[in-house]
């Protein structure tokens, strides 16, 4: 139940969490109530009625140079990702048994480097999270491992999708901790949905392109550059502060 309440913004929880949990303990929620809580959390984020106001000036978040370096490295990885797709769509076409595909071996080193750089960014985001962040760090660790596998074997799309799923877990944790903005999370969601959605749909036979084109997959995968952008930007900019203040009703 605490997980559902965790969907509410920090300022709201500072003001109402205790009594809300007491209410839920007194009247255990049924599935409709759970849905109502989720709707309430969305409303509290879209139309905040409680705002935090700093009780006292807080010291700046002390941060070494490495998160920013990891951020720049991740953004550079995004450039490499685009370069990977450009090299791939310009690779020679191979026809094998009536099936045409691009021999994108020349793009493999760029692909490897780009994926590793995203893994570095993801680990940096996870390591910057305030405690407790065990779930996010575990997701970051395993995703980076699976990502390495994908970097070495790009045809293992399932590994790639698993790695991006882990990245989303990390990003949601960062958003909940106030480290990521809703815009960054939204960009990541959209990019991953556009990049992985069609490939997943194709893999399970839900979607078949009307005219087979060996370049379609590279165009689709290009949308994933949003992941490098969101992770890199979140690390490069000044750290966001989590609201830790006295709530005031708007």
């Amino acid at each position: 139940m605490t997980r559902l309440v965790g969907l509410y913004p920090r300022a709201w929880r500072d003001r109402y969490e205790d009594e809300f949990l007491a209410l839920l303990a007194e009247r255990p929620p049924d599935p409709l109530d759970r849905l109502d809580i989720v709707r309430g959390a969305i409303d509290a984020r879209l139309h905040p009625q409680v705002q935090g106001s700093p009780a006292a000036p807080e010291p700046a978040i002390v941060r070494g140079p490495w998160p920013m370096r990891a951020g720049w490295l991740t953004l550079a990885g995004g450039v490499l990702w685009i370069a990977t797709m450009i090299v791939a769509v310009n690779s020679p076409i191979v026809v094998d048994g009536g099936r045409a595909y691009r021999d994108a071996a020349a793009a493999a080193p760029l692909f490897f480097a780009a994926v590793v750089m995203l893994g570095v960014g993801m680990l940096a985001v996870a390591l910057e999270l305030p405690e407790p962040a065990r779930a996010a760090r575990t997701a970051a660790f395993w995703s980076s491992m699976v990502g390495m596998l994908w970097a070495l074997a790009p045809w293992l799309m399932l590994a790639g999708m698993t790695a991006f799923s882990g990245l989303i877990v990390v990003a949601v944790a960062a958003w909940r901790a106030g480290r990521w903005s809703s815009l960054e999370l939204g960009i990541l969601f959209v990019g991953v949905a556009l990049g992985c959605g069609p490939i997943l749909a194709y893999s399970v036979g839900l979607w078949v392109p009307a005219t087979p084109d060996p370049d379609t997959q590279f165009l689709v995968l290009g949308a994933l550059v949003a992941a490098w952008g969101a992770v890199g930007a979140s690390l490069v900019r000044a750290p966001r502060r989590r609201a830790t203040s006295q709530p005031t009703i708007a």
């Binding site: 709201w12 003001r15 109402y16 205790d18 009594e19 809300f20 949990l21 007491a22 209410l23 839920l24 007194e26 009247r27 929620p29 409709l32 109530d33 849905l35 109502d36 809580i37 989720v38 709707r39 309430g40 959390a41 409303d43 509290a44 139309h47 009625q49 409680v50 009703i249 708007a250």
Partner: protein, 107 residues
């Protein structure tokens, strides 16, 4: 039905029920939920309850009292009581007009 809460969106009607529920004395969340269900016949979800409570509190129509064992009671403010009276008068006028018209139509 609840013109005074035009900016409350889907929380307008629950807000009126909550004000009505608090009109006979302070209540905490669970008591409000039970009372509203009794008044309206429709259960009030916890997310809706607290969305409405936050709006009512933000506009000074209700105020929070000191919590008792984590359960925080709320009570109607003077502004809340006035708002509730205006709303109920409006509803009474609405009902009166409707009933008169039905009577005239039946003649």
């Amino acid at each position: 039905m609840s013109q005074g809460f035009t900016d409350f969106g889907r929380f307008a009607e629950p807000s009126l029920y909550i004000l009505l529920s608090l009109s006979d004395g302070p209540k905490h969340g669970y008591a409000i939920m039970a009372d509203v269900e009794e008044i309206s016949g429709v259960p009030l979800g916890p997310g809706t309850l607290y969305g409405a409570l936050a709006r009512l509190e933000g506009r000074g129509l209700i105020e929070a009292l000191e919590p008792v064992e984590r359960r925080r009671p709320y009570r109607l403010t003077a502004l809340g009581a006035t708002t509730l009276k205006v709303q109920l008068d409006g509803l009474a006028g609405f009902a009166r007009t409707g009933l008169e018209r039905l009577r005239e139509a039946a003649r």
